[in-house]
Symmetry: C2
Subunit: 350 residues, 2 copies
DNA sequence: CTGTTAGCGCCTTCAT
DNA sequence: ATGAAGGCGCTAACAG
C-alpha cells in the first residue's frame, strides 16, 4: 500500500490543502517546502494518478495507436513523438492492433478508458468511424500517414501521389518502359496513392509516346520484408522484361534488395531499383539506392504540434490537414537506358 | 463531459449500488440488466477508469518495459505477450526507454503510477535496482531475456552461454580456427553470455589442439542492422584471415549478410556465417543461414504464465528462474574446411 | 435482488 | 501562507 497525503500530514503536521499546493505549484514558505520534500523522500511518496485524474480530468498521457509494432516507419515516428511529449511532461501510452480493425476499436476504447488527453494514430480501418468515440468525449485525435474516409480530424500525410509520380517520371526519363511496382494492398491509403501516382504517370506516357502498350505490373503483398522478398523473387524469376522495380515502402525495398542479391541480379546493371524511405540499412548500402524519402522528423513534429495545440487550446473544430513533400534522393540504383543504348551504338561498354 | 452512474440512475431509477453490480458481475434481475444496458447504450456510457482504479486498486493492466521499440526480438516477444493477456482480459501498457537507464526508471514510475497489476520487462540497467520500487508496492515483476544483478524476481532467459559454446563448437568441428564475433557491448547480459560461451570454447581448443594462438576477434557495436553492417564491412575488408563470423543477434546477422553481399563475399564459399535468431527475412534466405534459434513463443509464454501465476496467487517470494534451450538450425552458410582441404588434395574444387 | 452509506486520494474554493 | 470542508465517480459492506 502506498502512502498518501495523510501520511505526509502525519509527519509534517501540514494540512492536506498545503500539501496539495506543494504538488501543484502554490506559493509556500521555504521551510514548508523543505519539510514536505523530506517527508516525500522518506515515504517514497508518489501522487496517485487516479485520484488526481478524478478531479482534474487530465492524465497528462497521450495515446498512440498504430497498426504494427514491427513496422519500422511507424516505430520511428513513434519514438520521435514519445520524445516530443516526454519533454513536455506528457507520457505516452502505446497500442498496436496487429492491423486488425477489431482490435483497433478495442485498443481505442482502452486508451479512452485510460483517460488519455489526446490520441495520435496511424489508422488501420479506412473508414475511421471508430475515432468518433474519441471526439464524443472531446478527446482530440491526430491522424498520421493515412487519411480516413468518414472522420474529420487534424491530419498529417505526405504527398504520396506525387511521390509515386516522381518515381515514375524518374524511371521514364531514364528510358524505363517495362516496370513493376511492389506494393502493399490497395486498401492501405499510402499504397493506393503511391501506386496511383506511379501508374498514372506511366499511363499518360503510353498515350503520348509509345505505340506498344507498356506494362506496369503491380504486385500487392503484405508490408513486410519477407513478403517483399518473396514478391521480388517471384517477379524477377518469372518476368524477364522488367527493367526497373519501384518498391512502395521500406520493408518492401529491403526485401527486394535481398531477393536481387540472392538471385545474383545486380542493380543497376541487371535490374534498376527505386526504393522508398531513407532509413536504416538502406541508407548505407552501396551502390546507394535511389528513393523517395519521407521527412520523418517533420511528420512526427507536425503531428505532435497539432495535438499539443489542441490540448492547450481545446476545440476540436476546423481540423487542419498538413501535406508534406517527399524528397527524391538520387543514388546509383537506376541505370540510364538511353546512355546504355548510346554506348552500344558507339560500341562501348555493355 | 462523459456520463456517470448518476445519469444511468436518472434514466433507469436504479440505485448506484445496483448499477455498480451491473458492471462488476453481481446477480441482477433480467429486466434490471436490460434497463441498465439500454441506458448505457443511449448514453454511450463508459466506466471512469480513474474512479474505478481509485477504489479497486486494480487496473487489469500489465506494464511492458523494453529497451527499444525497434528491436525485432523484443517486439516479437511483446506481441505474443500482449496477445496472451488480451485473451485473459488484461490490457498491456507498452513503454520503451531507448536503452537509457534514466528513462527506464521514469518509465517504471509511469507504469506504477498507472497502477499496473504486474510488469514484464527486458531490463536495460544491469543492476535492476530500480525494480525494487515495484516490489515495494507489491507489484510482481517478471524479467525476460536478461538477468539482473541486484534484484530478485521471476526470470526467463535462454541458455546464452551454451548457445555461444554450441556455435563455437560447430565452427570448430568444421575446421574454423580464425573466427570473429560481431556482438553488442558486453554490458548487455545476453551479449556477454553468448560471447563468453563462444570465446571459452575456443580457448579450450587452443590449450588442447593448436600451437599457434588462435584468434577470436570480438567486435562490439550497437544492436542495430546498420551497426552490424558497418562492423562486418570493417572486419571483412581489413582482416583476411577470418574464415567464419558469429553474429550474436538478429540485427547483427542481418547487417553482416548485407555487408557480405555488398562486398561480393559469398557464404559459405568466401566466409562462413553463423547467425542468431530464426526470424523474419533471415529465415527465408538462400543459401540458408546456420544459426542458433531462440524459442520465442516459449519465452513469451513462460514469462506470461509466471506473471499470471503471481497475479492470481499473490506473493512475490521465492522467485523462479526458467532457462530455456536454444536450437541449432543447420543451414548452408558454414563451409567445412576439412572437406575443402580434402577436395584440394583430391584435385577437385577450389 | 436492490438501496444506503461511507470512503478511495486528491483538488479546490473559502476562510483564517 | 495555511487550514477546513466538500466532492470528483465509483466500489463494497451492510441493510432491507
Amino acid at each position: 500500500m502506498s502512502s498518501t497525503y495523510k501520511d505526509i500530514q502525519r509527519i509534517t503536521g501540514y494540512s492536506l490543502g498545503t500539501i496539495s499546493k506543494y504538488f501543484n505549484g502554490g506559493s509556500l514558505r521555504a521551510k514548508t517546502k523543505k519539510d514536505i520534500e523530506a517527508a516525500v523522500a522518506r515515504l517514497d511518496y508518489r501522487v496517485n494518478g487516479f485520484a488526481r485524474g478524478l478531479k482534474s480530468r487530465k492524465s497528462m498521457t497521450i495515446g498512440l495507436l498504430i497498426p504494427e509494432i514491427n513496422g519500422i516507419f511507424a516505430t520511428t515516428i513513434l519514438r520521435l513523438i514519445v520524445q516530443f511529449f516526454r519533454q513536455r511532461g506528457y507520457s505516452c501510452l502505446i497500442c498496436d492492433c496487429d492491423s486488425d480493425t477489431n482490435i483497433e476499436v478495442e485498443s481505442l476504447d482502452f486508451l479512452l478508458d485510460k483517460m488519455v488527453d489526446g490520441i495520435i494514430t496511424i489508422p488501420t480501418d479506412t473508414s475511421g468511424k471508430h475515432l468518433e468515440r474519441a471526439h464524443t468525449r472531446n478527446i482530440p485525435v491526430v491522424l498520421v500517414d493515412r487519411k480516413v474516409d468518414d472522420f474529420d480530424a487534424d491530419t498529417v500525410v505526405i504527398d504520396n501521389y506525387s511521390a509515386g509520380k516522381t518515381a515514375a517520371e524518374y524511371l521514364r526519363d531514364f528510358g524505363h518502359v517495362n516496370v513493376a511496382v511492389i506494393s502493399g494492398t490497395q486498401d492501405v491509403y499510402t499504397m493506393k496513392q503511391r501506386c496511383s501516382g506511379f501508374v498514372d504517370a506511366f499511363s499518360q506516357l503510353r498515350k503520348s509516346t509509345f505505340t506498344k502498350k507498356n506494362n506496369v505490373r503491380v504486385m500487392e503483398t503484405n508490408l513486410t520484408v519477407e513478403s517483399g522478398y518473396i514478391a521480388a523473387k517471384d517477379l524477377l524469376t518469372n518476368d524477364n522484361n522488367i527493367t526497373a522495380i519501384f518498391c512502395a515502402n521500406y520493408e518492401l525495398t529491403l526485401g527486394t534488395i535481398m531477393a536481387m542479391k540472392e538471385l545474383g541480379i545486380k542493380y543497376p546493371a541487371g535490374t534498376s531499383l527505386f526504393g522508398f524511405d531513407n532509413i536504416e540499412i538502406v541508407r548505407t548500402l552501396s551502390p546507394s539506392i535511389t528513393l523517395m524519402a519521407q521527412p520523418m522528423e517533420l511528420l512526427a513534429q507536425s503531428a505532435s504540434n497539432l495535438l499539443l495545440e489542441r490540448l492547450e487550446h481545446g476545440s476540436i473544430f476546423s481540423p487542419k490537414t498538413i501535406m508534406l513533400d517527399t524528397t527524391l534522393i538520387e543514388g546509383n540504383s537506376v541505370s540510364n537506358l538511353f546512355d546504355k543504348a548510346n554506348q552500344m551504338k558507339d560500341g562501348l561498354a555493355r
